[in-house]
Subunit: 143 residues, 2 copies
Amino acid sequence: MNEIDEYKDILREHGLRVTSKRLGIVSLLKGFDYPVDAKLICEGLCDAGICINLSTVYRALESLVEVGVVRRINFSDDAKVFYELNRGGHRHFLHCMGCDELISLDVCPLSDFQLALAKETKYRVVSHNLDIYGYCPKCQVRK
Amino acid sequence: MNEIDEYKDILREHGLRVTSKRLGIVSLLKGFDYPVDAKLICEGLCDAGICINLSTVYRALESLVEVGVVRRINFSDDAKVFYELNRGGHRHFLHCMGCDELISLDVCPLSDFQLALAKETKYRVVSHNLDIYGYCPKCQVRK
DNA sequence: ATTATTAATGCGAACGATTTGCGTTTGCAT
DNA sequence: ATGCAAACGCAAATCGTTCGCATTAATAAT
């Protein structure tokens, strides 16, 4: 059973139909290691021969987020929403405000803090969002 | 010289005119200790007798952000932009995903991490964005 | 104080991202 | 193979935000 079959099963387990569009989105997202927006997904699939309406992309992404296959991401320097394959765990990014380079950080400095915060506030802490903004070496020179 | 006069001076120092609308926005924001969106500002001012067009609210906020009086904030669970008075320093919030309660955290767990990251990546780190999501005690029971 | 200058405002239209309504197509249980 | 509900395509609607342009008002010049 290959990896795409896993996703088929996840869809079926949640009572969702397995469609070429949904699988197309998943396999497209597999090719990116950074979050992409709905429009790029739409165009990427079209180029791959799977033409799909933009509203269908949104609806499919919504379903995929619901079953946990995809994760929604919202950066504060951009109004639109980004999506990435949910590979377990979570990531944070360092954004260059000059050239929009995006560096994925492999550490999360918040696990201890989050535990302490939960204890202090009695909240059940579920997730967090951390993005760091600055200028990359090249852009520091350019400016 | 009262507090509003300080803001008048800041505007003038930056070559911006002192208008009732801009001062209205500032004094309205003073009344909130959490970030609010443009629409709420518009309606709040209207209720206070200072009727102001929504596009003017956006333009005024833009100016106030430029001169450092106001800060733009972007949460990952909401597409729209929020604004708050820039009281110096920065803040992070704990969001209840059940009732949308917002708790302002008085600590930032990232200062050391940010320094280390800058060193490691050679980025000039300018700012960051951190929000924590979970369920408040009441919503844990409700659910 | 009056007038001239030009930034700030109001209004409506435009915008980009996202959602929705509805008729058509397709996956899948029978 | 057939029927039904879920998914889809399409166009229109929505939401937050921005823009163009004519009008108003804050400040500088007289």
